[in-house]
């Protein structure tokens, strides 16, 4: 009786249930699944918007690995991800833990840390290019007070990476707010035993808070990695500011140090009109992101479930 009733309830919701998700299903097929499959196909062809695809086998892939600028863009992006992700996660944890203390004006501090991350990237990058200007920029003006000489932040390939990392650390607001909410969600009972043992604040942070919010940290790491591999707008704006129009020249900043993977993909597709090759790049990126996400979620089972 009970089962029969439940079954009829199931079927009663099935038609409206499917009808209501239908927009997403259609959108997914049109704007995600079909493009992903087509981009796999295009990656084995030579084509552009004005030329029909011609099958070329693995040529796009083998050409890419003989392309020095491709290798450069891979290295630039990997270095950026490898440094900016730990740096932003770490700073996010520090700011969140500080905000979690019983402090006055928490909402104001939280707002100050959060706002940069919601500002339009184009506008905030322009502000950074101005701040990092070698001659009139305020960072060098500030550093000169401490006797540091003029640094060409965005014009010297030794400093461009550091500049991008600094800019990324300015945008940790979302991560901070998420970590703060996660820390505040940690049940108070968990701390009681440690209090009895007379554990210090740092000890509690490391042994209770961190393991409890590990799954949130992991999720933010994955999002940060995906974001890092899609890093585009900032370098586009910086190179435009340095050169006027960048697209025709397919410019990559000093010594190509700003040539990030998505920017080179964009050049291949829309400057060189080699959309087959760009599709191969898209698939390589898709696989890299997929593999990293998979490895992280699998291996993390060990450290996330420790709690």
């Amino acid at each position: 009786m009970q089962i029969a009733k439940r079954q009829s309830k199931l079927s009663r919701d099935t038609v409206p249930g499917i009808l209501f998700v239908l927009p997403w299903v259609v959108g997914f097929l049109l704007f995600s699944l079909y493009p992903i499959i087509m981009s796999a196909y295009y990656s084995f062809t030579d084509f552009s918007t004005i030329k029909a695809p011609v099958w070329v086998g693995l040529d796009n892939y083998t050409n890419l690995f003989h392309d020095a600028r491709f290798i450069t863009s891979v290295i630039n992006t990997l270095v950026y991800v490898a440094i900016s992700v730990p740096a932003t996660i770490f700073l996010g944890l520090i700011t969140a833990s500080l905000l979690n203390l019983k402090i006055k004006g928490r909402a104001i501090f939280r707002a100050i840390f959060y706002i940069p991350s919601i500002l339009p990237i184009v506008a905030s990058t322009m502000v950074w290019v101005w701040i990092l200007d070698p001659i009139d920029g305020y960072l060098n003006k500030l550093l000169s007070l401490f006797g540091v000489g003029q640094i060409n932040w965005l014009g010297d390939s030794n400093f461009t990476r550091l500049s991008l990392i600094i800019m990324s650390m300015w945008c940790i607001g979302t991560t901070t707010v998420i970590f703060l909410a996660a820390i505040q969600d940690v049940p108070a009972e968990l701390y009681e035993a440690a209090d009895l043992d007379g554990a210090g604040r740092f000890h509690k942070m490391l042994n209770i808070t961190m393991p409890t919010i590990a799954h949130v940290i992991l999720y933010q790491i994955i999002l940060a990695i995906i974001g890092g591999f899609q890093y585009f707008t900032q370098v586009y704006v910086i190179i435009t500011a340095q050169n006027g129009h960048l697209v025709q020249g397919a410019l990559g900043g000093p010594n190509d140090s700003l040539l990030m993977y998505p920017l080179y993909l964009y050049y291949n597709a829309f400057t060189y009109l080699k959309m087959g090759r760009a599709s191969a790049m898209a698939w390589i990126l898709f696989l890299i992101v997929g593999v990293i996400t998979y490895i992280l979620t699998k291996t993390s089972k060990k450290w996330v479930d420790l709690q």
Binding site: V21, F28, S39, L119, P120, V127, I178
Partner: protein
């Protein structure tokens, strides 16, 4: 000695927080202050942090150099259409995933979560080809139409909000003879107002600031959004920094106002999305 260390422990967090806050606010202060400086002052060696007098010609110059209001109008048109699309489809998708029981629902939900991991660059070229085939490159449509099919992030966020609506309420309505659609309209929608406010804000903010999609599709000058229009201040020979900072300030104002008036929804939405 002990007392000194206690004072240090008590005030050290404030010291660090204030230092960090100053660093975080520094770029915004520089932007606004540069926007009120004359070119001569901004580029002088001993120009201080704050302008010596409020020089508003940079703002006049913004309106003289670019059709600011046209770009703002384009941006707002695309943004509002995205908000409308999001508000029409997201609630019903989220409702189906949160409150209707049907076979395959959990599979659909996992696909939605997984699809958030697809990098935009991976679908960019075929999408461009699709829009080129239907002759819509150069129009606003490629920036608007996808919103009417629901974005994963907003669906997941709103579903999370809807999960907290008590099932008893919906069950009672069902017994009173309410079908799935009228339960949606009469109970779920009114109780989801904070969630709806949150996705409205995120849809607004993300579309307003977007760069890559307008770069690909809104690529004729009369279709520029502000993200693209701001590039006009940068040309090969020089960048008009003072006017550019004025334009950047104007560009940011709506987002900062939105944040100040709806801070609660920002923080709530962000926290919910991260905790899953």
């Amino acid at each position: 000695m002990k007392q000194v260390s206690r004072i240090v422990v008590k005030y050290l967090p404030y010291f660090v927080l204030i230092l960090l806050a100053l660093i975080f606010i520094f770029p915004i202060v520089i932007m606004v202050s540069t926007s009120f400086k004359s070119m001569k002052e901004a580029f002088s060696n001993n120009s201080g942090l704050f302008p010596t007098s409020f020089y508003i010609d940079n703002y006049k110059n913004v309106f003289a150099t670019i059709p600011f209001f046209q770009y703002l109008g384009n941006t707002m048109y695309v943004t509002i259409m995205n908000v409308i699309g999001t508000l029409i489809v997201t609630p019903m998708i989220a409702y189906s995933l949160a409150k209707l029981k049907w076979r395959g629902r959990d599979v659909v939900f996992s696909i939605i979560v997984a699809s958030m991991l697809i990098p935009y660059t991976a679908t960019m070229i075929p999408l461009y080809k699709i829009w080129a085939n239907v002759n819509l490159v150069g129009t606003f449509w490629p920036l608007i139409i996808p919103a009417f099919f629901g974005y994963p992030f907003y669906i997941i966020l709103l579903r999370q909000f809807m999960l907290s609506i008590p099932d008893e309420l919906l069950e009672a309505a069902r017994i009173d003879g309410c079908g799935a659609f009228s339960r949606f309209l009469k109970i779920v929608i009114p109780l989801s107002k904070p969630g709806l406010a949150t996705i409205t804000i995120f849809a607004f903010m993300n579309t307003y600031s977007d760069f890559l999609a307008p770069l690909l599709y809104a690529n004729s000058a009369d279709h520029y959004t502000l993200s693209l229009g701001l590039q006009s201040f940068m040309n090969e020979h020089s960048v008009d920094w003072t006017s550019l900072m004025a334009a950047a300030t104007l560009f940011m104002i709506p987002i900062i106002l939105l944040f100040l008036f709806a801070q609660k929804y920002f923080i709530e939405g962000i926290s919910t999305s991260g905790l899953k």
